[in-house]
Amino acid sequence: MELEELYKEIIIDHYNNPRNFGELPDANASAEGANPLCGDEIHLELLVKDGIVEDVKFHGAGCSISRASASMMTETIKGKKIEDVRKISEKFKEMLFEGKEDEELGELEAFKGVRVVPIRIKCAVLSWNVLEEALKKIDKGG
């Protein structure tokens, strides 16, 4: 997908209507991250039960790419097993950093368009890095 279409078809939609935006009072894992380039900030909260992401919410401010990516990420991971979430995260980053494609990424593949502007890749992967941080805490906390 060309960057312009990505903006028009996906980013603007998620920017205006971010999915799972807000706070999760009964969360049992959370993490936050920032991208100094655009001043992006993402706070992510997860409710994980029996190895499954039961619920997820995010909030924060920043550019449209970071917000749309976070929004779509929450849609993707909700209801999935942690091990599958990790795989998707890895594949998403491989797509952005190395240009690898994978059918499993589904709609997320749209973000491949960001590769034409390498400096903005950080915006797209920010929420996924925050997600990995949160998952690490679950590992530690058991």
């Binding site: 960057l3 312009e4 028009k8 603007i12 380039l37 001043g39």
Partner: protein, 412 residues
Amino acid sequence: MDPIKLREDFPILKIKVRGKRFVYLDSAATTQKPVQVIEAINNYYKNFNSNVHRGVYFISEEATRLYEEARMKVSRFINAESPRTIVFTRNATEAINLVAYSWGRKNIKEGDEIILTEMEHHSNLVPWQILAKEKNAKLKFIPVKEDGTLQLEKLQELFTPKSKILAITHVSNVLGTINPIKEIVEFTHKNGTLVLVDGAQSVPHIPVDVKDLGCDFLAFSGHKMLGPMGIGVLYGKEKILEEMEPFLGGGEMISQVWLERATWNEIPWKFEAGTPNVEGAIGLGSAIDYLKKIGMENIEKRERELTAYAMERLKEIDGIRIYGTKNPELKSGVISFNLENIHPHDVGTILDQEGIAVRVGSHCAQPLMAKFGVSSMVRASFYIYNIEEEIDIMISALKKVKEIFRGIRRAL
């Protein structure tokens, strides 16, 4: 001056970016280089490459002559009293650091005051923060008003007998505000306070005469005035430079060296330790030749035309917020703005897709961003090679950004 003809001297302006015509509107970050400058550097490496001030052989003497000739050109360009007052540095940042370390360490004592403004680039802020911390000195700031000018009414209450130096930018790299340096220097000197002027955004764009301004130090960078990167200038009044201790130690800056001690070379070489950037100095000399041929008055006038044109056309963009004054008579060719509810990096990315280079971010002036309540801005800046048609291209692209983001709602 004929901008269309002049553009022929800048090969990079002919490239295509993302299949589109390249529109460079980021000259406040660095300017493009004319073939004359590129050729001068080429000529040095092809015919005279050798170390300076050392060789007894022909090409070294030639290299030394070219290097010192460049210093003479800089000296005349800013109307300095003598080339002895011109120290070559890496850039304006290093020139300011030189003063903060060398002059500052000797002259700033506990409780002394260093006066700055709220519109300083980090390069004229952080070196003073380091010095103030080390010496337990105090930093004080001349506030910036909403219209992007300095609150000069505050000078009287701000300055005290403990105010040792004022470090102030001549032209804001974000707002384009031209500060009335001459008047400020008159006031400051009456108080017995020295003045360092950050000329990084003024020397390339308007006539700068250090005798007329009366400042004690002036710092600027070669790469923002058609010259190469890695060469900058510190001008300092002769008497002050002579009383200053060296900045860096090494070869060139010494007179005699024993195992336990050394004596210093004369100014300006006292401040130029190690092999200098000969290519950079020669390139800067050539850039000055180029600028002088056009004439700094003409450059100022042309940039004002471009700024006025851009200001007029930017009125077509709904929801634009322009920071600082909108009056082209009061500013240099720098316009910073934001589009309502659209992140500046998104604006920058879409403009880039159209082949347009603008700067987005904090512009190395985070405190100024905070003052205007934003974390970043879009900045378009102009130079002698820009033409109205490029501003038209930017306006169309900004309209496209608006179109893409149509229906965007207020950020949550």
